[in-house]
Symmetry: C2
Subunit: 576 residues, 2 copies
C-alpha cells in the first residue's frame, strides 16, 4: 500500500471530544472517522487490524470445535417475546417497524437466534456438545457512548453459544473456552490482562468470567492478588477483614454532635478514628419499597451489587424523612423500622468495640458501643467494597486495586433460554430435557482499542506484529533523489513479492513528516533509506515498540525483515 494513496489523514492536534488514548490516536492516525455519536467508519488500517483480530478469534474458536454461522442483525419481535427480553431489555435495544408494520429489533446479542436456529436441528444428546459462533456487526444503544471504539454504539463482536446435555459437560467445555480466550488475547498481543470472576456463584447465580485489559483508562475496578493471581471485578470481590477487638470498651454514652453528620465530621468532632465508627447507608428496594439499611465500619464503602443480591432487588437511595429516620444520626441501636425492612451488618463490624454510631435522634450519637456486648445476636454479611491492602482470602497476600476494560466475557447460562423457548433434546435416560447453555463474547473493536491503551505511547500507535495493519513501513527519505526513489521502488516491489505486508511512504515530503507519520501509524518495523544509508549500502531499521535501531546491508534486507517478522510472531506465540 502506498501511503500517499491511503484513505485517511494524519493530524497532530488532539481532536475535540476525545479523551482516551486509543480514541485520540485512532483519530489522529487516520484509522477511524466518526459518523454519529458512538458510530464510526473504520478506515483501511483499522479494518486491516480488525480482520487480523477476527482471524485469530476464528482460529481459536474452530480449535475448540466452534462452528461458524451467521445470525440475522434484524430479528422479529416474536423471537424476543419467547425469551421475555422484548420487554425486559430497555432502550439499549434498537427497535423498528418493517414495511408491514411488524415489530423488529436489532440484535445486540443472539441467545434467542442461537436457540431458535438449533431447535429442531439438535434433537439428541448425541448432537451435543454443540458450539456455534458468529462475527458480526451489533448495535447497542449505549446511553453514554464514549472513548471511540471502547464504548461504541455499533461494533463488531464475536458471540458464541454452546449447548450441553449435563452441567458437567458445560463446565468442562467452559474451561476449554476459558483457555481459548487466554490464547486469543495473548495472540492479539496483550501482555497485561486478567480474567476476573464476574459472579462467584455463591448466591446460586451463574458462573461467569470477564477478560479485562488492565489500564488506568478502564471503566471497571479490579481486585488483584499479586501472589496467587486471584482477580475479581470489584463488584463481586472478596477479602479477609482485619480482626477487631471489643474487649476494652467503656460504658455507652449518648453525646451531642450537633451538625456533625458525615463520618468525617463526627470523627473530627469526637476526636476518634473512622475505624471506630459504624455508619449507616440507607436504600429502598425497588420491588416493594421496603427499607434497606446497611451498617459498615466507617472506613469501608458499600458494595451495592452485593447488597442487591442479598435483597434480591435493585435499590434506590432512601428518602429518610419518609421513614422518620434522622439522616446523619442513624445508628445500629434502637433503630425503629417498619415490618418487612432489611437491616444488614457488614463483616467489617465484627467484634468491633469502643465505636460510635448514630443515636437515631437528631444531633446525637452514641459512644463506646461494643458489637459483642451490645449487639450480641447480629449476623454479619459481606457488603463492603474491597480496599487496597486488604488480605487475599486464598493466600493471605495484600490485595491491590487496579482498573480494566472488559474485552471479553464468558457465562454459564444454564437453561434460561432453552426453557423459555421450549427447546428439548432427548437425553441418554430417554427423557427429553432442555440443554444447558454457555455463551461467550469478544468485542473486536474494543480489543483493538484496548491494545492501544496498553501499548500506545506519546508518539502514537504501537501494534503487535500479529495484528499490525502492515508489518513494515518503508520510509525512503529524499524521494527527489533518483537513486533513493529507484532503490525504494525496487524494495517495495521485492517486499511485496516476498509476502511482506508493507506500507510504502512514496511521498516526496520532509524527513520530519515521514518519521512522525510512521511513529503515529505504529507499524512494527520501520525501514529508512536515504542518500546516506544507500552510500553505505545499508538501510536503517527501527523497531516501533522498543525503539531499537540498527543497520542492515541492502542485499540482506528482505531476508532480515522476514527473520524479524517471524521472530516477533514466534515471541508472541511462545507465550500461549
Amino acid at each position: 500500500m502506498k501511503l500517499g494513496k491511503l484513505l485517511g489523514t494524519r493530524v497532530k492536534e488532539t481532536p475535540n471530544g476525545a479523551n482516551l488514548k486509543s480514541h485520540i490516536l485512532l483519530l489522529r492516525a487516520g484509522y477511524i472517522k466518526q459518523i454519529s455519536a458512538g458510530i464510526f467508519s473504520l478506515l483501511p488500517p483499522a479494518q486491516r487490524v480488525s480482520l487480523k483480530i477476527q482471524d485469530i478469534i476464528r482460529d481459536e474458536m474452530n480449535k475448540v470445535g466452534g462452528q461458524e454461522v451467521l445470525f440475522p442483525v434484524v430479528m422479529p419481535r416474536e423471537l424476543w417475546d419467547m425469551s421475555g427480553r422484548y420487554s425486559s431489555i430497555k432502550s439499549e435495544m434498537a427497535r423498528l417497524k418493517d414495511r408491514a408494520g411488524h415489530d423488529m429489533v436489532l440484535g445486540m446479542t443472539h441467545e434467542e437466534a442461537a436457540v431458535f436456529t438449533a431447535m429442531n436441528n439438535v434433537t439428541s444428546h448425541e448432537d451435543l456438545p454443540l458450539m456455534v459462533y458468529q462475527i458480526q456487526t451489533k448495535f447497542r444503544d449505549e446511553p453514554r457512548a464514549r472513548g471511540g471504539l471502547i464504548r461504541a454504539r455499533e461494533f463488531t463482536m464475536k458471540d458464541a453459544y454452546s449447548f450441553h446435555a449435563t452441567q458437567e459437560d458445560l463446565e468442562s467445555y467452559y474451561k476449554k473456552v476459558y483457555d481459548a480466550y487466554v490464547r486469543i488475547y495473548k495472540r492479539i498481543g496483550f501482555k497485561n490482562f486478567v480474567v476476573v470472576e464476574g459472579d462467584n456463584g455463591m448466591m446460586g447465580g451463574k458462573v461467569s468470567h470477564e477478560y479485562m485489559a488492565v489500564t488506568p483508562a478502564g471503566e471497571d475496578s479490579l481486585v488483584i492478588c499479586p501472589k496467587c493471581h486471584y482477580s475479581s471485578n470489584m463488584e463481586v470481590a472478596v477479602s479477609v477483614c482485619e480482626e477487631n477487638d471489643s474487649t476494652e470498651t467503656g460504658e455507652m454514652e449518648e453525646v451531642f454532635t450537633g451538625n456533625a453528620h458525615s463520618i468525617d465530621e463526627v470523627c473530627a468532632f469526637l476526636e476518634t478514628d473512622k475505624t471506630h465508627t459504624a455508619k449507616a447507608v440507607c436504600y429502598t428496594a425497588d420491588t416493594d419499597g421496603s427499607a434497606v439499611v446497611a451498617f459498615l465500619r466507617g472506613d469501608c464503602e458499600i458494595n451495592e451489587v452485593k447488597l442487591q443480591k442479598l435483597v434480591l432487588s435493585e435499590l434506590s437511595i432512601m428518602d429518610t424523612d419518609k421513614f422518620g429516620l434522622p439522616a446523619g444520626n442513624i445508628g445500629c441501636l434502637n433503630l425503629n423500622l417498619p415490618e418487612g425492612s432489611h437491616v444488614f451488618f457488614d463483616k467489617s463490624l465484627k467484634n468491633l468495640g469502643s465505636f460510635v454510631t448514630g443515636a437515631n435522634k437528631a444531633d446525637f450519637h452514641i459512644k463506646n458501643v461494643s458489637m459483642q456486648r451490645d449487639l450480641p445476636n447480629v449476623e454479619f454479611v459481606d457488603i463492603a467494597l474491597v480496599k487496597e491492602g486488604q488480605t487475599c482470602v486464598h493466600c493471605g497476600e495484600k490485595l491491590t486495586l487496579t482498573r480494566g476494560i472488559e474485552i471479553g466475557n464468558i457465562f454459564q447460562l444454564g437453561t434460561r433460554y432453552t426453557k423459555a423457548m421450549g427447546m428439548k433434546v432427548n437425553m441418554p435416560d430417554g427423557v427429553a430435557r432442555e440443554p444447558i447453555m454457555g455463551c461467550y463474547g469478544i468485542g473486536v473493536g474494543r480489543s483493538l482499542a484496548s491494545i492501544i491503551e496498553e501499548k500506545g505511547d506519546e508518539k502514537g500507535l504501537v501494534w503487535p506484529m500479529t495484528i499490525a495493519p502492515w508489518q513494515v513501513h518503508l520510509c525512503p527519505l529524499r524521494m527527489d533523489d533518483e537513486n533513493v526513489s529507484a532503490v525504494a521502488e525496487e524494495f517495495y516491489k521485492s517486499m511485496q513479492e516476498s509476502g511482506i505486508e508493507v506500507l510504502y511512504d512514496e511521498r516526496n515530503v520532509s524527513a520530519g513528516i515521514k518519521l512522525t507519520d510512521s511513529e503515529l501509524m505504529g507499524v512494527p518495523i520501520r525501514v529508512v533509506i536515504s542518500p546516506k544509508t544507500i552510500a553505505n549500502g545499508e538501510a536503517e531499521i527501527t523497531m516501533r515498540e522498543s525503539g531499537e535501531k540498527f543497520f542492515v546491508k541492502l542485499p540482506e534486507l528482505i531476508s532480515e525483515l522476514k527473520c524479524i517478522i517471524q521472530d516477533e510472531i514466534d515471541q508472541i506465540m511462545s507465550k500461549i
Copy 2:
C-alpha cells in the same frame, strides 16, 4: 468436521413455501434456516461458502487497488438528508429512532457514508483515483422477499465506491472493475453468466452494467446475441426492426368492429394479421398528469422503461374516459388530445401499409392505412420490447431471449453525491471541483444461491471446488466394522494434516442415508471406503458434478486427492 456433529438437518421433502431450486436445496441440505420472511440464519456450511466467496471478492478488489473499510449499518438521518435520499427512498429503507429520539436508518447502500468518510480525507487530485469497499450486512425491506437467498431482506453485500478527477479516469477505472467482476464470477465457478447493459447512456443517462447469472428462475428478461455476444437487460435492449412495405395499400375505409377491442379480437373480426395493425397503449405522466399515447405494431409490446425515459416521468395507466378516448378503438388518425400530450410511434410501424387502427370512435376501426401515405410526417422512436428472433443491431444475427438473476452491478454515478454533499477536491487546474464517482455492488448470498440455480441437480447441491464448504466428503460405509472405522479415522486425521478440507460422515447409519446425504450436500469429491474397498486396498472416488467414479489405492489416496483438488481449482482459474 464430523457430519454427526454438524449443525443442520437434512430432509427429503420439499419445504413448504420454497419454489426455487436454490431455496429448496439450501433448506433441504441444512444450509440455512428461516427466522422471519426474507431473514435467514446461515448454518455452518453456508457460512463456509459465503466466506470463500468473500475471500475471492476481497482478493480481486485488492488487485484493482480497492481499500477495504467498514461503514456503519446504522446511520443518522442527517447523512441521508444531505443527498436527499432520506425522503426519496421509500419503505424499502428501514428507519428507527435511537434512545434520544434521533432518526436513524439502516444503510441499504453506502454512497453517503463513502462520501462523508472521504470528505476532508481526500483533498487533492493526487489522492485520486480512490476506491473503497466493504463487505457487510445490509437490510433492504423488499416488498416481496422470495426465493431464499435470491431476494432476502437481510443479506451480505460487497459494495464499493470510487472517486475520480476526470470522466476519462472513471471510465478507465470502470473498465478495470468490469474485468475484475468477470474474474470474480469465473472464480466462484459460474459458467453461464452475462454482462448486460443497464442503461445505454444515449439519453445522457449514466453508464451501468449488470452481471446476470443466466437461469430460467431469473427475475430479469435478457436479450442475447449468440454471435457477437451483445447482451442487454430487456429494459434497455435494442434490435433491428423488420422492414415493412406500404406500397400496395388500398383505399382507407372505416369499418364497424363492434365489441372487438383487443388486437386479437379485431384481427379475428377483420381476418387480418397482427403485423398489419397499429395498437395504442395509453398512460398519464406522473409528473404533470399529461396524456401519453404510444402506438406500436400489433405484434409488439410496449417497453415502459424506454417510454418513461422519453417522457422523463414515471407513468400510470390512463383512465381513458377522462380524456374522452374510446378504449379499444383508439387509433393514430384524427386523435384528439389536449395540449401538452405526448404521442409516440414505435419504429415497428415505419413504412407499414394496409394496416388497421382504431377510428377514435366507439365500435369502429379504420382499414387500409399507410404510414407513408396517411401519416407522412411521423418521427419513429424505439419503445418496443425486443422479441426473440429479431436482428442484432451489431452483427445481424438473430437475437435470443433468456432470463437472469442480477448477481452484481457497476455504475458510473457521476457527481450526484459529491455535489449534493459538497465534497470538493483541488484539481490540477487549481480549481476545487466535485470528484466523479463510480459504485460497484455484489450480492454474496445471491451469488451463492445463483450458482446453485446453475449447478444444482435433482440429487442436491453441486459446489465448484473454489467455494465448496469442504473439498472432500469422507464416507465410510459399515462403521460398525472395526476395520472400516479404524481406516476412516486414520484418513480423516491424515486428510486434515494434509490441509484437505474434509467433511467426515462418522455416523453408523445405512449406506443409503450416507450416499444420499453426500449427494444432497454437494461436496465436490466423495471418498467411499467399505469392507469391500478395503479388502481391495482401495477407496472409491465419485466426482459430484460429473458423476465420474474411479478407484484409488489407499496409499495413494491423499496425494491423489490433493491432485484432484488442485486440478479442479486450476481448471476454474485457467478460464479467467
